[in-house]
Symmetry: C2
Subunit: 121 residues, 2 copies
């Protein structure tokens, strides 16, 4: 638990790689994770938790099976648990995700895009 | 659950009063609430939940019993459950709060600043 304020852009200076979520805060059993994303991720879903995306900088598309949700800076979206989604960003986008502690980035599919899910910056 | 993206500033156009938290999203049993704040709130604490403050626009001070945390746009802070705090803002500040559904704004103290806690915009 940080004793000081948490500045999103300052936290982003601590990660340079893309698609590597890092925890910046915890509220009850929920974790706040930042990530730089660019290109296409994999289709996946989280059976145990809803997942919030908040755009800190840039723009991204959240592809769902029946439509695509475009997200800009200052916008958020809640992916309900069990709903398949694929994040896509043409240019690098800085995002904040909120989900239950222990949630893996690739959800039900695993594979080589999987990251450890409890690394703090 | 919104089927579309949620734009913070667009949601703020739907509230004009200060100190009236309104729900804009829910993630599992957590609610995302926006509020306009200006002036001093009351000292209170939430025994059942941590409480996240994210600054959307402006600046505020989160007074704690042992220090004051200044929060600017693009910053967040987690008030741990059971910790007394008092939000203060010299000029109007737009904030996003995240806490367990059912949390009352005045926490343990109640009083005439208390608002209904499950009104959506």
């Amino acid at each position: 638990m940080s004793k000081n304020q948490i500045n999103f852009q300052e936290k982003f200076t601590k990660i340079t790689e893309q698609w590597t979520p890092r925890v910046i805060a915890q509220m009850n059993d929920n974790q706040f994770k930042i990530a730089r994303i660019q290109g296409e991720f994999v289709w996946h879903k989280h059976e145990e938790t809803d997942e919030v995306f908040i755009i800190i900088e840039g723009t991204m598309n959240l592809e769902l099976r029946d439509r695509t949700v475009n997200l800009q800076e200052g916008e958020m979206y809640v992916v309900p648990k069990g709903v398949e989604h694929k994040p896509v960003a043409e240019n690098e986008c800085k995002i904040l995700m909120i989900e239950t502690q222990g949630t893996t980035n690739t959800g039900n599919v695993g594979g080589d895009r999987t990251q450890e899910n409890d690394i703090w910056v």
